[in-house]
């Protein structure tokens, strides 16, 4: 099972439908295939051991992805915002790469597309054992790790979650996550396979996003939670009449943001997707009917599911295990382990990290409810241990985020002589408010208990986050230490 098989099927099934870019000048599967075969020639002629994509999203990205597949080398999408030092470290890991970038390291996306069009197309994909894609994880806690995604992983994901050619010709997806994010890679494949045209937004801006949805008659979109929050915070005309489906993932969604979105856009189906780079994107989905059922329910169990990650996609098994590696019953929190063909769990240089039964340790903590809905409680590494009690920051953040004056919140453990760690928080006030930190502490104490109430709450205009919305907890901690 090779990525080029998906492209071959698209060419056979709907080779002349525009699937990449704008309706006026986009690419069809047939054109994508021809360009990719030409791009593969460029990589082979250069003796490349990888295709490094270091630019914003655009038509050159899917061409680069399939060019790498035809050339039998991995595609390595890299964050173009990385500092010079980190960037040269990553490039040094792929010394013979064909580089596509805007900084003068290699070819620009435009030059790559022109070169691919002029090159003699390769006939068949090279038969190698090379991975399909290597993604360097964002490294919010440590140096970036190279996650290896095999052709089988990605193709299994596509076949398990998407129906071939099931999309009407009027459907169009708007992609606003960058190419170095797993969803940026997976959406190229899933949309192509189902026949849906993809328009990409090179850099996210709420006004641009809304304007593009309207201009391109976008029916499907995927965002990270911070993007959705910014769309509603912009206060502009938020009408999106063409939109049918909005998927979100990549970080925890603040409850108020999703509730606002559900009420503002009653015609839109919301989809919460939970997944990791190591699992070729989505492993659990909370679908549109789940969202509406939870929002409308009086049953607290059902209502809580609005903040769950939903249930596993076909082909994925979930286990919640305790610290001794034993499975725990529904309702009990533990560590999330996953198994399935789309799960790679493989890293460059260190090999596979799955256990003997093929399960991968996500390093996320979570619990399942009685109906099998997964609640993700955050990274295991972020767990605060206060006086021997394990506390998930998410539990306290969820309470803070329900306060009307709180737009965003982060709770971290600060070293403490008495307790080992004590709880401190940074809160971002909603515009026009200035909540009293003491009142916020009282609010948390009323909902939880005093051991889970932050000892100190500091107000800030925003939180440190990566461009894809992940909270940088180490920066929250250093801010609190510096201001303590």
């Amino acid at each position: 099972m090779h990525l080029t098989m998906l492209l071959d099927m698209a060419v056979d099934g709907f080779g002349d439908r525009i699937v990449v870019g704008r309706r006026t000048d986009g690419l069809t599967p047939r054109q994508l295939q021809t360009s990719a075969r030409g791009g593969a020639r460029l990589a082979l002629d250069a003796g490349a051991d990888a295709v490094v994509y270091l630019a914003v999203s655009g038509p050159a990205f899917p061409v680069a992805m399939f060019a790498a597949a035809y050339a039998g080398v991995p595609l390595v999408p890299v964050n173009y915002r990385l500092g010079a030092e980190q960037l040269s470290d990553l490039l040094a890991r792929h010394p013979r790469a064909l580089v596509i970038d805007e900084h003068g390291v290699g070819r620009t996306p435009k030059e790559f597309l022109a070169g691919a069009a002029a090159a003699d197309p390769v006939a068949e994909p090279a038969d190698t054992d090379a991975p399909a894609v290597i993604i360097y994880t964002s490294g919010t806690t440590s140096t970036p790790k190279g996650v290896v995604l095999r052709h089988t992983n990605l193709v299994s994901y596509v076949l398990g979650t998407v129906e071939f050619a099931a999309t009407g010709p009027d459907e169009a997806a708007l992609m606003s996550v960058p190419p170095y994010h797993i969803a940026g890679v997976s959406n190229v494949l899933t949309n192509l396979y189902t026949g849906r045209r993809v328009v990409s937004l090179p850099a996210f801006d709420p006004a641009d996003w809304l304007a593009t949805v309207r201009a391109e008659q976008i029916t499907h979109a995927m965002v990270v939670p911070t993007m959705l929050a910014r769309i509603f915070a912009a206060g502009a005309d938020g009408a999106v009449p063409s939109l049918r489906s909005l998927a979100y993932g990549g970080a925890a969604m603040p409850p108020r943001v999703i509730e606002t979105a559900l009420r503002t856009w009653p015609h839109v189906g919301f989809v919460n997707a939970y997944g990791l780079t190591e699992t070729s994107a989505t492993v659990c989905v909370l679908g549109p009917s789940d969202h509406r059922a939870a929002l409308d329910s009086d049953d607290p169990q059902v209502r809580a599911r609005l903040h769950s990650a939903g249930r596993p996609v076909p082909g994925i098994e979930v286990e919640i295990r305790d610290e001794d590696g034993e499975c725990v019953p529904a309702g009990t929190p533990g560590r999330i382990w996953l198994r399935g063909d789309q799960v790679s769990g493989e890293y460059t240089g260190s090999g596979s990290a799955v256990d003997t039964r093929g399960f991968f340790d996500t390093r996320d903590s979570g619990r399942l409810d009685a109906a099998g809905y997964l609640f993700v409680l955050g990274r295991v590494d972020d767990t605060i241990i206060r006086g021997g009690e394990n506390i998930a920051p998410a539990e306290i953040e969820d309470v803070l985020l329900r306060h009307p004056d709180v737009a965003d919140a982060a709770v971290v453990g600060v070293p403490d002589d008495e307790w080992g760690q004590r709880l401190e928080a940074i809160v971002v006030p909603t515009p026009g408010t200035s909540p009293d930190p003491e009142n916020l502490r009282t609010y948390v104490r009323a909902a939880l208990r005093s051991s889970k109430t932050p000892d100190r709450i500091v107000l800030r205009p925003d939180l440190p986050r990566t461009p894809t919305g992940k909270l940088l907890r180490r920066d929250v901690l250093s801010d609190l230490l510096a201001s303590g």
């Binding site: 099934g13 998407v162 071939f164 997976s186 489906s245 998927a247 993932g249």
Partner: protein, 102 residues
């Protein structure tokens, strides 16, 4: 034959190509147009004559299952022959649509 998950099989009598999605732990013969399907990577792959009584054809991108034995294949190239296991035609698996998540 005992096919592996992800293995590509080609027809001996027409253009049909399938990828194995599920296969029980058993020796079964998957046929297309009456002739045994072949491993796409096997250079000694032979040819055959299609059985005119087995020409229901297959559709690109559809999954085919045998209701009894747990065989599931995905059609990656459409053809004219009938897909069958042990002489019983496979049927199209109705999809349970998942919402777009990325």
């Amino acid at each position: 034959m005992k096919a592996g998950i992800g293995q590509t099989l080609t027809s001996a009598v027409d253009a049909t190509t399938v990828v194995v999605v599920r296969w029980p732990d058993a020796d079964l013969e998957l046929t297309c147009g009456g002739a045994a399907m072949l491993d796409a990577k096997d250079p000694t792959a032979g040819s055959g004559t299609p059985d005119p009584a087995q020409s229901a054809g297959s559709l690109l991108g559809k999954r085919y299952v045998d209701e009894a034995g747990g065989v599931e294949v995905l059609c990656t190239k459409a053809g004219t022959g009938t897909l069958a296991v042990g002489g019983t035609p496979l049927v199209i698996k109705t999809a349970q649509p998942l919402p777009a998540s990325d």
